[in-house]
Symmetry: C2
Subunit: 424 residues, 2 copies
């Protein structure tokens, strides 16, 4: 395995060895947001690399933009070319162009802990799927009982709803407890106020790199080629609002206040060694959804909860291989009806739950609808989130003893707004 000369890249705890090279958008103090790649404990300024001519005389790559969309639109061959070149520039046994040019190194490498990170993409559309079988079964059981847990359509296609792009935020952005209507058991009229059942959802987000024309359809294989990479995604959910508003048109306000994603997009290429077989199918899928290869990944995702001033407790450990539908299946199904897909579309997997309780990807499942409690390290308990709680996702796969990691996806719960001027 090749190694890198960049500080921190050989630390076995690092998420960002030479084999990873995830893309994000950063700025250093006083600088403008631009694209970068994480390596070891540093971020490499890709706008600077492009400006210095180190990518050769290729067409413009758009790295000086404050989002990856322009680069993603250059397409899969360009993605591969840039990745190869970055490996050469960063490998200990690679090109001297950057490695041996200390002035350039000083100008283009910044310590990760000294930069600000931004949303890596302009999110064009955000779709939240429901592609985890155990989660669909668990939440269906809690709401409708185990006999009717899975709706009849579920084994035949990835079920989804359109989420709200305007409230997709980057890790670190605080999350304000939402106001909304709820109707508690026993109450004759609905109430208006802060949600009392604030929850997380551990998800894997696929980033569409290349879109489609209006009416263009994609095979699963073609869809795979258009996926640029993946992020960790927390689909914050207000369960009491969701319960009351959800029929007949699905979740709306319960999911609209915030969706957090990790700042680093780990590319499909970096995850290649982690590909694994999909699930056994309940029933054969229709031909348009059948997969010619393995499109699932062995990626572990942990969620930790840290009370205000307290200690972090791991509350979830799950794995993306528990999903039932793969990312290219989501994209194929999405495009098949004539929906135009765009570079920067974000496809959430839906909550990822494994077979055992510790792997259930949200508090609603872990506490079985709020009935049970989750115990924290310091002895505290939770049914749902409290103000001041911080939830942190981390994700990684292991390749040759090294982590191909996603960094973290984190948010802290702020108390609900005072309802000034709303007639209360």
């Amino acid at each position: 395995m090749r190694t890198s000369w960049v500080p921190g890249s050989e630390d076995p705890e690092s998420d960002f060895p030479l084999g990873n090279l995830p893309y994000g958008v950063f700025s250093e103090a006083g600088g403008a947001p631009r694209c970068g790649v994480a390596i070891g404990s540093m971020v490499l300024d890709l706008a600077g690399v492009e400006e210095a001519g180190l990518f050769g005389d290729s067409t413009p790559l758009g790295f000086s933009e404050g989002a990856l969309n322009r680069f993603m639109e250059t397409g899969p061959q360009s993605w591969a070319r840039v990745r190869d070149r970055l490996k050469e520039l960063l490998a200990a046994d690679g090109s001297p162009d950057l490695r041996d040019n200390s002035a350039l190194r000083d100008r283009l490498l910044f310590p990760l802990d000294q930069v600000q990170m931004y949303l890596p993409i302009v999110v064009r559309g955000y779709t939240d799927f429901y592609a985890g079988r155990q989660h669909a079964f668990n939440s269906g059981s809690i709401l409708r009982g185990p006999k009717n847990a899975l709706t009849p359509n579920w084994p035949h296609m990835p079920i989804a709803y359109n989420g709200r792009t305007s409230t997709v935020v980057v890790s670190g952005t605080p999350v304000r407890r939402p106001l909304g209507q709820t109707k508690p058991a026993g109450s004759e009229m609905p109430l208006f106020g802060p949600s009392k059942r604030l929850d997380i959802e551990v998800e894997f987000g696929a980033v569409v790199g290349l879109g489609t024309e209006l009416g263009q359809t994609l095979t699963v294989e073609e869809a795979w080629e258009r996926i640029f990479g993946f992020v960790l995604l927390n689909d914050w959910s207000a369960r009491d609002i969701q319960r009351w508003e959800g029929q007949p048109l699905g979740p709306f306000q319960a999911k609209a206040f915030a969706t957090s994603i990790s700042p680093w997009v780990v590319t499909r290429a970096a995850l290649e060694p982690l590909r694994c077989a999909g699930p056994e199918r309940d029933q054969p899928l229709l031909p348009y959804l059948q997969e010619p290869a393995n499109y699932f990944f062995d990626v572990t995702i942990d969620a930790h909860l840290t009370p205000s001033g307290g200690k972090a407790s791991r509350i979830v450990r799950t794995n993306t291989r528990h999903l039932y539908y793969s990312a290219p299946q989501l994209l194929t199904h999405h495009a098949i009806g004539g929906c135009r897909m765009q570079s920067g579309d974000l496809l959430g997997s839906g909550t990822i739950s494994g077979p055992d309780k510790g792997s259930f990807g949200c508090l609603m499942e872990q506490t079985w609808g709020g009935r049970d409690e989750v115990t924290l390290e310091n002895g505290g308990t939770r049914n749902f989130l409290e103000d001041g709680d911080t939830v942190t996702f981390s994700g990684w796969g292991e390749v040759d003893g090294r982590r191909i990691g996603f960094g973290t996806c984190e948010g802290k719960i702020l108390p609900a707004l005072e309802r000034i001027g709303l007639g209360h």
Copy 2:
């Protein structure tokens, strides 16, 4: 009532008298898309008016952009100032600056039938509500029977789902019959193929002119001030796909292939004389949704169906006063949970149905789930749309014997794509 010197503006059939002045985006042959205002049978080039300094030394109004968003972001006071100035420039008894300058008139006025129209706004978010009581009752009755027609939440808040912004198209764009999964009665497995139950939905679309910050809430009165105007909206729907996919997360592919809007945004100011009282409430609304004034409009909307090579038949005549929730109520509810709203957000009212069959705003209701037939002028019938059918919405209110009109919102059905490469 003031009159205008512009050709066609005194024709009583015209949608665009001096009292209207709707905004759109147009280009003449070889020109770039820019903002314009419709008056009589002409469009006035607002980029040219701005460039010629006829708005005075105000801050830039963004009329040379290919969308109204920049202008909308200048806010309600600016909207009022520009409207006043346009009235002066276009009134027979107004300013001579344009009226008496033939060179400028020739450069800035184009015949409506010789320009191309575009989407008037960059659609930031598209939300489709379900704010018509008769429609909710009818469609609930068809699906669940009259006893369970309205879900318990319906009388308490505007129910909605997020639609797909990427497939909002301007009037005139053809609509391709979507492919998708359906499960016809009696079939054990779902089928894949073209939708057989393609439908329209007659809706009124509100355009949000000024957004909110993340977490900012709005009273109904504040929401009213932020609405820039309204368009006709056809929420094309594939009923068979919707039926099969719709549980538990709501419509997705059934609505994602196209949503058509009229090219002209009729402003809130133009509709001011058409304001009317809202409906009687089944139950009092929670305080945050209560209205301090009348926010409904007396606007008639017709839908005509024209078979390929055939004659137009009116299939719907309805009125926006049949809605149960007003546009500012939709916006208030949308923002109340912390969802960030943006300039260019489009809020569909949901299908507008009146009390009698001819006013039901979609074929599903008119044919009661496909059971009955709609008879066309030439003796043909329809349960749902056929390939080659053109559906045309028109909408207007009457003020002092003149129409304040929306022009048309039209689309022609193209046959479904061949399913090449999809394993069929």
